[in-house]
């Protein structure tokens, strides 16, 4: 099986702050990690290769430092990592990102499965998986929690919905997004780490992808971020004092007055 995993490097914490002067994010001093949801995608790709043989390639669109995320994927067992990086790719929304990823996937044919995490820690959109599938014109299943069966040209999976799960079938090749219920990601191995240090990570830019400039980066994006702000958290509330009995009595009293009991 030929599997491609899409991953993104994100800041390690969601506790990011806005610089009040420039109104942009303060990224200084924040470590970068593989988007946690993507670790499940990587793990599933490796498990499928262990089961069926084949190859797992990880691709990521990002600035040059995103190479570290691809090396980490290799230390986990991914066969190869490819970085899609070019100043022209910056400022991309999910559409432009999906277009760029699809150009890379064009060079990686034939493949059987494309696996993505369900959303990123920073953007939180969950849009790239389905949009990539649409650009590639491939079948798509979201929120896969278990791959039950894969045969030559089709698969059967479980995917999560609000009140349970659905069992779906799809031909291959296909695009999936996976949820954390699907597996427990492994830890890197010492030999994997050694391999990742000596691995060559090709960098594909506009030239290598033969990219249509109207389909990448800010130029290729339909949406714009108009502004960002920190949500205001105001303390609205009353904290009840006294011993436990007092506190509980006060609470019940208030709720009764509010008509909530």
């Amino acid at each position: 099986m030929n599997i491609v995993v899409c991953l993104k490097q994100v800041p390690s914490t969601t506790q990011v702050k806005i610089d009040p002067e420039t109104n942009t994010l303060i990224r200084q001093g924040i470590e970068n990690i593989i988007n946690p949801f993507d670790t499940y995608a990587i793990e599933e790709g490796i498990r499928l290769r262990e089961r069926f043989g084949g190859r797992v390639t990880a691709i990521s669109m990002g600035p040059p430092q995103a190479e570290a995320a691809l090396r980490e994927a290799i230390s986990l067992g991914v066969d190869e990592g490819i970085l899609l990086s070019d100043p022209a790719f910056a400022g991309a929304d999910t559409w432009a990102t999906s277009c760029t990823l699809s150009m890379a996937l064009g060079k990686l044919e034939p493949y059987d499965l494309v696996i993505c995490g369900r959303q990123t820690l920073d953007g939180d959109t969950g849009q790239v998986g389905p949009q990539l599938a649409e650009v590639l014109n491939l079948p798509f299943i979201a929120y896969v929690s278990q791959i039950e069966e894969i045969a030559d040209d089709h698969m059967r999976v479980r995917r999560m919905v609000e009140d349970g799960y659905e069992i779906m079938e799809s031909p291959l090749p296909a695009v999936l997004t996976v949820v954390k219920e699907i597996n427990t990601p492994r830890l890197p191995s010492l030999r994997g780490i050694a391999r990742s240090k000596s691995a060559t990570i090709p960098v594909w830019g506009s030239k290598e992808l033969n990219a249509d400039p109207g389909k990448v980066g800010l130029a290729g994006s339909f949406t714009r971020v108009m502004r960002i702000f920190s949500p205001q958290r105001v303390c609205r509330g009353e904290i009840f004092q006294g011993d436990v009995t007092d506190q509980v009595d006060c609470l019940i009293g208030r709720l009764k007055d509010d008509g909530l009991l």
């Binding site: 939180d124 959109t125 650009v135 349970g164 339909f222 949500p231 909530l260």
Partner: protein, 331 residues
Amino acid sequence: MGSDNFRGVWVFAEQRNGQLKSVAYELLARGRELADALGTELSAVCCGHEVDDVNSLIAHGADRVYLVAIPELADNQEDLLTRRLVELIQQHRPEIVLAGATALGRAFIPRVAAALPTGLSADCTDLDVDADKRLLLQTKPTFGGNIMAVITCPAARPQMATVRPRVFSRREPDSSRRGEIINVDFKRERYTSRTRLVEFVAEITETVKIEEADVIVAGGRGLEKAENFEMIKELASVMGGAMGATRAVVDEGWLAYPHQIGQTGKTVCPRLYIAVGISGALQHVVGMQTSECIVAINDNPHAPIFEVATYGIVGDLFQVVPLLIEKLKKR
């Protein structure tokens, strides 16, 4: 698709098993306000089979309903929904399309946006319009809710956004409203559906559905063990409410995923939300902050939950909750 001559606000009215989902009405409520601000019409698009009470969409604000009602769409087959919605949009050129950020919405609406192609913001927590520029201002959380972003789609049309259930409130239906229901055809042979639903397996164990509960008692890591959730269950039962959980609790396996509230779980908006042993990390708070009344019980006076709580008790939950249960039972 350039922005000339695109008019109208559309709401994708999601249905499941013939029942329209509440999020459809919530979006119609807000959609009506946006349409009025833009001086344009509000339409609902409803796809399914034997959908109950389609007229209610008009009572809730729609001027028009595009109804695609055929057996093949009964189980919301995403390939079919995507293609049909894309065609309808291309045909009628709305300037704004809204949908619920449900499991279905998050899966197929991005595909619709990519097919047109146009811009989409998922999981918005607020929508507004700049009427002069006919621009939809889409506010959404990023970084787990620590940073809010206002997004626009300046040129492409339609401007698309998905919104979580319970973010907007539904209005009282106005049965005097008039509107038209347009039956839209669906020539099955024109569409291929590649993925196939084999079976749906329900996993609801609770009698009260968390999204519809008026009262939710939620437990966090402070409960320490699975067994201690008996206390949450009892309090919820005494108050006639549902049980909720933070992601940490679900990750530990103390409660199942349908109870999870927050960024990667459900958004709820009950009348009363009682947070027991929950620190109040933003990823959780974004899922319940619009609750009418929030009560927090935590032994850490600096826990962020107290910043959003209406009422707070700083204390040992293992003392507070049993006492609360006891006193409520006596009433």
